[in-house]
Protein backbone atom coordinates (compact mmCIF):
# COMPACT_ATOMS: atom_id res chain seq x y z
CA UNK A 1 0.00 0.00 0.00
CA UNK A 2 1.63 3.23 -1.05
CA UNK A 3 1.41 6.64 0.61
CA UNK A 4 -1.34 7.98 -1.70
CA UNK A 5 -3.65 4.97 -1.25
CA UNK A 6 -3.41 5.24 2.53
CA UNK A 7 -4.46 8.90 2.38
CA UNK A 8 -7.41 8.07 0.11
CA UNK A 9 -8.78 5.44 2.50
CA UNK A 10 -8.36 7.84 5.39
CA UNK A 11 -10.28 10.53 3.51
CA UNK A 12 -13.06 8.01 2.69
CA UNK A 13 -13.51 7.16 6.36
CA UNK A 14 -13.60 10.81 7.39
CA UNK A 15 -16.16 11.39 4.62
CA UNK A 16 -18.32 8.52 5.95
CA UNK A 17 -18.27 9.92 9.49
CA UNK A 18 -19.07 13.37 8.11
CA UNK A 19 -21.91 11.86 6.05
CA UNK A 20 -23.46 10.18 9.08
CA UNK A 21 -23.07 13.36 11.08
CA UNK A 22 -25.03 15.22 8.39
CA UNK A 23 -27.68 12.46 8.34
CA UNK A 24 -28.00 12.59 12.13
CA UNK A 25 -28.39 16.36 11.91
CA UNK A 26 -31.14 16.06 9.28
CA UNK A 27 -32.87 13.31 11.27
CA UNK A 28 -32.73 15.43 14.40
CA UNK A 29 -34.30 18.32 12.50
CA UNK A 30 -37.05 16.15 11.05
CA UNK A 31 -37.82 14.55 14.45
CA UNK A 32 -37.96 17.98 16.09
CA UNK A 33 -40.33 19.29 13.37
CA UNK A 34 -42.56 16.22 13.63
CA UNK A 35 -42.74 16.53 17.41
CA UNK A 36 -43.64 20.21 17.15
CA UNK A 37 -46.27 19.50 14.44
CA UNK A 38 -47.97 16.52 16.09
CA UNK A 39 -47.40 17.77 19.62
CA UNK A 40 -49.39 20.92 18.91
CA UNK A 41 -53.06 20.27 19.67
CA UNK A 42 -55.77 20.96 17.12
CA UNK A 43 -57.32 24.32 17.91
CA UNK A 44 -61.09 23.99 17.63
CA UNK A 45 -62.00 26.97 19.84
CA UNK A 46 -62.93 29.21 16.93
CA UNK A 47 -65.40 26.64 15.57
CA UNK A 48 -66.69 26.04 19.08
CA UNK A 49 -67.33 29.73 19.73
CA UNK A 50 -69.11 30.04 16.36
CA UNK A 51 -71.35 27.08 17.24
CA UNK A 52 -72.04 28.65 20.66
CA UNK A 53 -73.09 31.97 19.11
CA UNK A 54 -75.31 30.13 16.60
CA UNK A 55 -76.95 28.20 19.43
CA UNK A 56 -77.53 31.39 21.42
CA UNK A 57 -79.06 33.06 18.35
CA UNK A 58 -81.34 30.06 17.75
CA UNK A 59 -82.54 30.36 21.34
CA UNK A 60 -83.35 34.04 21.03
CA UNK A 61 -85.29 34.09 17.82
CA UNK A 62 -86.99 31.71 15.50
CA UNK A 63 -87.82 32.79 11.94
CA UNK A 64 -86.96 36.39 12.78
CA UNK A 65 -89.26 36.69 15.80
CA UNK A 66 -87.87 37.05 19.30
CA UNK A 67 -89.12 34.45 21.76
CA UNK A 68 -91.95 35.76 23.94
CA UNK A 69 -90.06 34.69 27.09
CA UNK A 70 -87.76 37.68 26.58
CA UNK A 71 -90.58 40.08 27.32
CA UNK A 72 -92.73 40.63 30.38
CA UNK A 73 -95.35 43.38 30.52
CA UNK A 74 -94.11 44.97 27.26
CA UNK A 75 -90.57 45.37 28.67
CA UNK A 76 -87.63 43.01 28.75
CA UNK A 77 -87.82 40.09 31.13
CA UNK A 78 -84.74 40.49 33.37
CA UNK A 79 -85.16 36.99 34.75
CA UNK A 80 -84.32 35.48 31.36
CA UNK A 81 -80.58 35.49 32.19
CA UNK A 82 -81.23 32.94 34.94
CA UNK A 83 -83.30 30.62 32.82
CA UNK A 84 -81.48 31.06 29.52
CA UNK A 85 -78.90 28.28 30.13
CA UNK A 86 -81.66 25.76 30.77
CA UNK A 87 -83.81 27.07 27.94
CA UNK A 88 -80.92 26.65 25.49
CA UNK A 89 -79.75 23.31 26.94
CA UNK A 90 -76.25 24.46 27.80
CA UNK A 91 -73.96 22.53 30.08
CA UNK A 92 -70.73 24.36 30.87
CA UNK A 93 -69.04 21.60 32.86
CA UNK A 94 -65.61 20.66 31.54
CA UNK A 95 -63.31 17.69 31.86
CA UNK A 96 -60.07 17.62 33.85
CA UNK A 97 -57.01 19.12 32.25
CA UNK A 98 -57.69 22.80 32.77
CA UNK A 99 -56.08 24.90 35.47
CA UNK A 100 -59.07 24.90 37.76
CA UNK A 101 -61.83 22.33 37.30
CA UNK A 102 -64.41 24.84 38.57
CA UNK A 103 -63.33 27.57 36.16
CA UNK A 104 -65.97 27.93 33.48
CA UNK A 105 -64.39 27.87 30.02
CA UNK A 106 -67.35 29.51 28.26
CA UNK A 107 -68.85 32.96 28.10
CA UNK A 108 -71.64 34.60 26.12
CA UNK A 109 -73.21 38.03 26.18
CA UNK A 110 -76.40 39.12 24.47
CA UNK A 111 -77.29 42.78 23.83
CA UNK A 112 -80.57 44.11 22.46
CA UNK A 113 -80.50 47.53 20.75
CA UNK A 114 -83.44 49.56 19.58
CA UNK A 115 -82.81 51.07 16.15
CA UNK A 116 -83.04 54.65 17.43
CA UNK A 117 -80.07 54.09 19.80
CA UNK A 118 -77.41 51.75 18.55
CA UNK A 119 -74.85 52.90 21.12
CA UNK A 120 -76.51 51.86 24.36
CA UNK A 121 -78.17 48.47 24.68
CA UNK A 122 -81.80 48.49 25.75
CA UNK A 123 -81.27 45.17 27.47
CA UNK A 124 -78.34 42.85 27.96
CA UNK A 125 -77.37 39.74 29.86
CA UNK A 126 -74.45 37.37 30.05
CA UNK A 127 -73.47 34.00 31.40
CA UNK A 128 -70.29 32.05 31.96
CA UNK A 129 -66.85 33.25 32.92
CA UNK A 130 -66.72 37.04 32.59
CA UNK A 131 -62.90 37.04 32.68
CA UNK A 132 -62.72 35.73 29.12
CA UNK A 133 -64.37 38.88 27.79
CA UNK A 134 -61.23 40.95 28.39
CA UNK A 135 -59.33 38.65 26.01
CA UNK A 136 -61.63 39.76 23.19
CA UNK A 137 -60.97 43.45 23.84
CA UNK A 138 -57.19 42.88 23.95
CA UNK A 139 -57.41 41.19 20.56
CA UNK A 140 -59.61 43.95 19.17
CA UNK A 141 -57.47 46.84 20.39
CA UNK A 142 -54.18 45.42 19.14
CA UNK A 143 -55.61 43.82 15.99
CA UNK A 144 -53.32 40.86 16.56
CA UNK A 145 -53.88 37.15 16.96
CA UNK A 146 -52.65 35.98 20.34
CA UNK A 147 -52.99 32.20 20.35
CA UNK A 148 -53.07 31.83 24.11
CA UNK A 149 -56.02 34.17 24.49
CA UNK A 150 -59.60 32.98 24.41
CA UNK A 151 -61.35 32.80 21.03
CA UNK A 152 -64.24 35.17 20.46
CA UNK A 153 -67.07 35.30 17.93
CA UNK A 154 -69.32 38.30 17.39
CA UNK A 155 -72.64 37.84 15.72
CA UNK A 156 -75.35 40.40 15.00
CA UNK A 157 -78.78 40.14 13.48
CA UNK A 158 -82.12 41.92 13.37
CA UNK A 159 -85.29 40.44 14.80
CA UNK A 160 -88.85 41.53 15.60
CA UNK A 161 -90.71 41.26 18.86
CA UNK A 162 -94.23 39.84 18.77
CA UNK A 163 -95.55 43.43 18.84
CA UNK A 164 -93.55 44.22 15.73
CA UNK A 165 -90.74 46.26 17.32
CA UNK A 166 -87.42 45.86 15.56
CA UNK A 167 -84.24 45.11 17.52
CA UNK A 168 -80.59 44.70 16.67
CA UNK A 169 -79.22 41.76 18.63
CA UNK A 170 -75.49 41.40 19.25
CA UNK A 171 -74.05 38.15 20.54
CA UNK A 172 -70.54 37.71 21.82
CA UNK A 173 -69.41 34.15 22.50
CA UNK A 174 -66.05 33.22 23.97
CA UNK A 175 -64.27 29.91 24.49
CA UNK A 176 -61.32 29.58 26.90
CA UNK A 177 -59.96 26.02 26.84
CA UNK A 178 -56.45 27.14 25.86
CA UNK A 179 -54.84 24.26 27.79
CA UNK A 180 -56.32 21.70 25.39
CA UNK A 181 -56.09 23.72 22.20
CA UNK A 182 -52.81 25.59 22.36
CA UNK A 183 -49.33 24.37 23.27
Amino acid sequence: MNKYNMNKRGTDKILSIYWFFILALIAGGIIAMVYVFYGTPYDVREIESEILSEKVADCISSKGTIDSEFFADSTFNTKISETFIKKCNFNFNVEEGYGDINEVQYFYEVEFYILEDLENPAFSFYNGNNNWKTDCSIKKENDKEYVKLAKCTEKRFYALSEEGNQYLIKILSVIGKSEKNVK
Partner: protein, 132 residues
Protein backbone atom coordinates in the same frame (compact mmCIF):
# COMPACT_ATOMS: atom_id res chain seq x y z
CA UNK B 1 -8.47 -8.75 -6.21
CA UNK B 2 -8.36 -9.03 -2.45
CA UNK B 3 -8.03 -5.26 -2.07
CA UNK B 4 -11.04 -4.55 -4.37
CA UNK B 5 -13.20 -6.98 -2.34
CA UNK B 6 -12.50 -5.09 0.86
CA UNK B 7 -13.57 -1.79 -0.69
CA UNK B 8 -16.83 -3.35 -1.97
CA UNK B 9 -17.78 -4.67 1.48
CA UNK B 10 -17.18 -1.22 2.99
CA UNK B 11 -19.42 0.34 0.37
CA UNK B 12 -22.15 -2.24 0.89
CA UNK B 13 -22.06 -1.68 4.67
CA UNK B 14 -22.22 2.07 4.07
CA UNK B 15 -25.26 1.74 1.76
CA UNK B 16 -27.01 -0.68 4.14
CA UNK B 17 -26.48 1.68 7.06
CA UNK B 18 -27.86 4.56 5.00
CA UNK B 19 -30.92 2.56 3.99
CA UNK B 20 -31.45 1.43 7.58
CA UNK B 21 -31.24 4.99 8.76
CA UNK B 22 -33.71 6.25 6.16
CA UNK B 23 -36.19 3.42 6.75
CA UNK B 24 -36.14 4.09 10.51
CA UNK B 25 -36.85 7.76 9.76
CA UNK B 26 -39.73 6.91 7.40
CA UNK B 27 -41.19 4.46 9.94
CA UNK B 28 -41.00 7.13 12.62
CA UNK B 29 -42.84 9.61 10.39
CA UNK B 30 -45.56 7.09 9.44
CA UNK B 31 -46.06 6.06 13.08
CA UNK B 32 -46.31 9.66 14.23
CA UNK B 33 -48.92 10.53 11.58
CA UNK B 34 -51.23 7.64 12.44
CA UNK B 35 -50.42 7.51 16.14
CA UNK B 36 -53.07 6.85 18.74
CA UNK B 37 -52.49 10.14 20.54
CA UNK B 38 -53.13 12.22 17.40
CA UNK B 39 -56.16 10.19 16.33
CA UNK B 40 -57.71 10.13 19.80
CA UNK B 41 -57.57 13.92 19.95
CA UNK B 42 -58.92 14.34 16.40
CA UNK B 43 -61.87 12.02 16.97
CA UNK B 44 -62.72 13.44 20.42
CA UNK B 45 -62.77 17.03 19.18
CA UNK B 46 -64.62 16.15 15.98
CA UNK B 47 -67.33 14.30 17.90
CA UNK B 48 -67.60 17.14 20.44
CA UNK B 49 -68.12 19.68 17.63
CA UNK B 50 -70.71 17.42 15.99
CA UNK B 51 -72.65 17.02 19.23
CA UNK B 52 -72.44 20.78 19.87
CA UNK B 53 -74.04 21.56 16.52
CA UNK B 54 -76.56 18.72 16.70
CA UNK B 55 -80.22 19.05 17.58
CA UNK B 56 -82.59 16.46 18.98
CA UNK B 57 -83.60 14.14 17.25
CA UNK B 58 -80.57 13.33 15.09
CA UNK B 59 -78.51 10.34 14.04
CA UNK B 60 -74.87 11.04 13.16
CA UNK B 61 -72.61 8.52 11.45
CA UNK B 62 -68.85 8.90 11.86
CA UNK B 63 -66.39 6.95 9.74
CA UNK B 64 -63.78 5.59 12.13
CA UNK B 65 -62.18 2.86 10.00
CA UNK B 66 -58.70 4.19 10.72
CA UNK B 67 -59.44 4.26 14.43
CA UNK B 68 -60.82 0.73 14.34
CA UNK B 69 -57.65 -0.56 12.71
CA UNK B 70 -55.49 1.12 15.31
CA UNK B 71 -57.66 0.03 18.23
CA UNK B 72 -57.55 -3.60 17.10
CA UNK B 73 -53.79 -3.35 16.70
CA UNK B 74 -53.54 -2.09 20.28
CA UNK B 75 -55.92 -4.75 21.62
CA UNK B 76 -58.81 -2.38 22.35
CA UNK B 77 -62.37 -3.51 21.66
CA UNK B 78 -63.83 -1.16 19.03
CA UNK B 79 -67.11 -1.05 20.97
CA UNK B 80 -65.25 0.67 23.83
CA UNK B 81 -63.41 3.27 21.76
CA UNK B 82 -65.92 6.12 22.16
CA UNK B 83 -67.73 6.72 25.42
CA UNK B 84 -69.78 9.65 26.64
CA UNK B 85 -70.27 10.44 30.30
CA UNK B 86 -72.47 13.46 30.95
CA UNK B 87 -71.12 16.04 28.54
CA UNK B 88 -67.61 14.58 28.30
CA UNK B 89 -66.41 12.46 25.39
CA UNK B 90 -63.60 9.98 25.82
CA UNK B 91 -61.85 8.38 22.85
CA UNK B 92 -59.49 5.53 23.68
CA UNK B 93 -57.44 3.86 20.95
CA UNK B 94 -54.62 2.51 23.09
CA UNK B 95 -53.91 1.44 26.65
CA UNK B 96 -54.12 4.51 28.85
CA UNK B 97 -56.68 7.11 29.75
CA UNK B 98 -57.54 8.17 26.20
CA UNK B 99 -58.43 11.72 25.23
CA UNK B 100 -61.36 13.62 26.74
CA UNK B 101 -63.15 16.74 25.52
CA UNK B 102 -66.34 18.41 26.71
CA UNK B 103 -69.30 19.61 24.65
CA UNK B 104 -71.67 22.32 25.85
CA UNK B 105 -74.86 21.12 24.15
CA UNK B 106 -76.80 19.46 26.96
CA UNK B 107 -78.33 16.61 24.99
CA UNK B 108 -78.53 12.89 25.49
CA UNK B 109 -75.81 11.62 23.11
CA UNK B 110 -75.38 7.86 22.91
CA UNK B 111 -72.58 6.33 20.80
CA UNK B 112 -72.49 2.79 19.44
CA UNK B 113 -70.12 1.02 17.07
CA UNK B 114 -71.16 -0.50 13.77
CA UNK B 115 -68.76 -1.91 11.16
CA UNK B 116 -65.93 0.60 11.32
CA UNK B 117 -68.35 3.40 12.04
CA UNK B 118 -69.68 5.06 15.13
CA UNK B 119 -73.30 6.11 15.27
CA UNK B 120 -74.38 8.88 17.62
CA UNK B 121 -78.01 9.20 18.57
CA UNK B 122 -78.92 12.67 19.78
CA UNK B 123 -82.01 12.98 21.91
CA UNK B 124 -83.39 15.54 24.30
CA UNK B 125 -82.25 14.98 27.87
CA UNK B 126 -85.11 13.80 29.98
CA UNK B 127 -85.90 15.72 33.13
CA UNK B 128 -86.27 12.48 35.13
CA UNK B 129 -82.78 11.32 34.18
CA UNK B 130 -81.37 14.71 35.13
CA UNK B 131 -83.00 14.65 38.56
CA UNK B 132 -81.65 11.18 39.30
Amino acid sequence: MKKKGTILIENVVFIILNLLFLSVLVLFLVNQGSGAIVLEQTYAKQIAMLVDSAQPVMLIKIDMAKGKKLAEKNGIDFNNVVSISGNIITVKLSEGKGYTYAFFNDVDAVPYAEEGMYILTINKKEEVAENE
